[in-house]
């Protein structure tokens, strides 16, 4: 029994020892795994941290030490920096830079090494505006490096400082003069003109107006720009600045203000402006119409109404002046004819008319014609009339009785065509017009028809001709006072009108005095005068010789 217990005890002891060993082994293994896990975790952490910061070979705080600013100042590309920690006071600085597009080492700038200033002129250094530049500034005190600054600069960071400018105010405009350098400025190796635009801004009360003058060429020398159409006696403020094409960063300058003068514009300049505007408007309108008409969009009538015919415009406004009145010296030939007075008795005539027949009865002739017989005279043949005019006086006398029976023609004014006189007016209407010309022939300038020899034949416009008879003989005052009787009474109406006129109008002055020396100086004929004086002259003034009356 003792052997059995001891065997069981030994077996249990062995089991315990195994368990303990297993436990210890397990415990040992667990501790090792933990360590491994810890190691792995550490490795992972290190890995991650290394992965994140693998490329950082520059202290991470280097970019937080300085503020970099890139500006186009005074037409130069200036990079300036400023330490954030103002307690650090370096004695000198060194500037270096590199680019991001290539693997290049840091480059030093000759003029920016060991400098005491905090900016560097990079106008001729940075030549690629598309590049991302990495500036590095090291601040030293003596030989000790105090701070290292890093940054990244692109063209988007560039700010254009405004140019210097002046303004001159006038009544309604402002002259802005921008001062550029004599040599065209460049930026990133290119002309400033290609990189930025010049902007002039006008501020008035609440209104802002932007002007972008077009500058041909480059920004060099002084540039003048006029802002027009401003309100006089108003305060205007002007600002001038560059607007970059590769950036939205704009540095606006302080405003320069001016109070415009009160308006003193003269009326003449206004009127000139108005005239110019009208002329331009009319010319543009005409050119448009002509162009459209040429194309065919507009079809204009070629036959204009009379109102629109402008080539007669001048004629209508300034009608032809009447031709100057011509004065021709004509000789009036009076034909003295004697008419036999037959013993006619007009018992129905008035008392005053009875006197003449009483005087003329002695000679056997009477001065009275018989009005109303003209028509019958007119109807007589021209041949007979010509014969009576040119023929023997005896023949003439033989025909006189026939004429005596004819009624005395009415004065021209009274000879208008009437229904009762249709017979007479129908045939020789010309004759009725020509008859008054006989004693005082009137010359029509345009209608005169030529004659031959010493005879001239005229068609006379009675409305425009005056007749003056040349005479100096005062002895024949009675005859001078004579107003010629109506030609109807004088001339044989059977004569051809032309011959009748030609017989009376003979050029030259001698015959006039011989044949009719006592012609009155004024011989302005009117119908009334004719009718009145025919009677009075025959009764009072006419020279009655041997029963004949001189006409």
């Amino acid at each position: 029994m003792g052997k059995g217990y001891s065997r069981k005890f030994l077996a249990q002891k062995m089991r315990c020892e195994r368990k303990e060993r297993t436990y210890q082994l397990t415990k040992m293994l667990l501790s090792r795994q933990t360590l491994a896990i810890r190691l792995l975790t550490l490795c992972f952490t290190v890995y991650v941290s290394l992965a994140l910061d693998a490329s950082h070979d520059i202290p991470e705080s280097a970019d937080e030490n300085c503020d970099f600013k890139l500006a186009f100042r005074k037409y130069q590309l200036i990079l300036s920096w400023e330490l954030k920690n103002r307690s650090i006071v370096p004695t000198h600085s060194t500037f270096q830079y590199t680019i991001m597009s290539k693997k290049e080492s840091m480059k030093t700038v000759e003029n920016c090494t060991n400098i005491t200033r905090s900016f560097c002129d990079l106008t001729n250094v940075w030549q690629d505006m598309h590049e991302t530049y990495i500036p590095m500034v090291e601040e030293f005190r003596g030989e000790t490096l105090l701070v290292q600054c890093l940054g990244s600069i692109t063209a988007l960071n560039l700010s254009f400082e405004p140019p210097d400018f002046g303004i001159i105010g006038f009544a309604d405009h402002i002259n802005v003069v921008v001062q550029f350098p004599p040599v065209a400025p460049t930026i990133y190796g290119e002309d400033l003109h290609d990189q930025a635009s010049l902007i002039i801004k006008e501020h008035s009360e609440d209104i802002d107006k932007r002007h972008e003058p077009k500058i041909s060429g480059s920004f060099s020398g002084n540039f003048s720009y006029v802002i027009n159409n401003l309100i006089p006696n108003t305060n205007y403020c002007i600002s001038v600045y560059f607007e970059p094409r590769s950036s939205r960063t704009i540095t606006k300058p302080p405003l320069k203000c001016v109070l415009l003068q009160p308006a003193q514009e003269s009326g003449s300049s206004k009127s000139v402006k108005i005239v110019i505007v009208i002329v331009i408007f009319v010319s543009v309108a005409i050119s448009i119409i002509l162009t459209l008409r040429q194309i065919g969009y507009v079809c204009l009538h070629t036959e204009f109404p009379k109102v629109l015919i402008f080539h007669n415009f001048v004629v209508r406004i300034f009608p032809e002046l009447p031709l100057s009145e011509e004065v021709n010296i004509l000789e009036v030939i009076s034909i003295n004819k004697k008419k036999k007075v037959w013993g006619y008795n007009y018992g129905d005539e008035s008392d005053s008319e009875d006197e003449a027949p009483l005087r003329t009865i002695a000679g056997g002739y009477t001065m009275h014609g018989l009005p109303g017989r003209l028509h019958s005279q007119v109807r007589t043949s021209p041949a007979s009339s010509q014969a009576s005019h040119l023929g023997d006086p005896a023949d003439e006398e033989s025909k006189e009785p026939e004429r005596e029976t004819q009624p005395q023609p009415q004065p021209p004014a009274a000879q208008g065509p009437s229904p009762g006189q249709k017979e007479g007016t129908s045939e020789p209407s010309e004759r009725t017009e020509g008859l008054p010309q006989d004693p005082c022939p009137k010359v029509d300038d345009g209608n005169s028809s030529g004659g031959s020899g010493d005879k001239m034949t005229f068609n006379v416009d009675l409305n425009s001709v005056f007749l003056r008879v040349l005479h100096d003989d005062e002895e024949d005052s009675e005859e001078a006072a004579l107003v010629l009787p109506p030609p109807e009474e004088v001339v044989d109406l059977e004569e051809d009108p032309q011959e009748m006129e030609s017989s009376l109008l003979v050029p030259g002055g001698e015959k006039l005095q011989v044949l009719f020396p006592n012609l009155p100086p004024e011989c302005l004929w009117t119908g009334d005068d004719l009718s009145d004086k025919s009677d009075t002259s025959s009764s009072d003034v006419d020279d009655i010789r041997d029963g004949y009356i001189m006409r």
Binding site: L52, H56, S101, K102, S152, T154, S246, I295
Partner: protein
């Protein structure tokens, strides 16, 4: 009759030229504004180029685009479109791997889409006119090679922060080139 036809054609040409010049000016203004906005958005992203100098790489941007001499607006439009498309692809596909601000990246993507839309009309006109020579199209493969190098660099660096930072700087440079190319729209 002939004169009328000539005048009509001249008027039509002048009007169309005026309208086209106006549209090109508008397009120029849009492109310039968008490229400036994209550059500013990229600048807002978290990244410090000065700490990633070891990861710098020359991606060899095509020199004929960097300093264009005989560029026409058709060339410019074509190049800008290709650049915008590649930038969009780079940002969109690798966006999840960046540590950038999501809002800024989304705004950047929106701006890129707008910029590409504004170019679409002009590109359609160019393609319809077939006003592109074989030499003009030779730029495109070089551009594709440039962007392929950018992608390879990011892959090589496992989209590390510095790799993204270097790419960010390169994309900013791209927008500066695009801004310059828009100057050709006014010709």
């Amino acid at each position: 009759m002939a004169n009328r036809c000539i005048l009509q054609i001249a008027l039509l040409l002048s009007f169309s030229t005026i309208s086209l010049s106006l549209s090109y000016k508008l397009l120029q203004a849009q492109q310039r504004s968008s490229s400036l906005a994209c550059g500013e958005l990229l600048k807002q992203l978290k990244g410090k180029p000065e700490y990633c100098l070891k990861d710098r790489m020359d991606f060899k941007f095509p020199e004929e685009i960097k300093q264009p001499q005989h560029f026409r607006k058709e060339n410019a439009a074509l190049v800008i479109q290709e650049m915008l498309q590649n930038i969009l692809d780079i940002v969109r596909k690798n966006f999840s791997n960046t540590v950038w601000n999501e809002t800024i990246v989304e705004n950047l993507l929106v701006e890129l889409h707008q910029q590409m839309d504004s170019l679409k009309t002009l590109l359609q006109e160019i393609l319809e006119k077939k006003d592109i020579t074989w030499e003009d199209t030779m730029i495109i493969p070089r551009l594709k090679g440039y962007y392929w190098r950018i992608r390879r660099h990011m892959k090589a660096k496992d989209n590390s922060i510095c790799a993204w930072t270097v790419v960010q700087v390169e994309l900013s440079r791209n927008f500066s080139f695009i801004n310059r190319l828009t100057d050709y729209f006014q010709d």
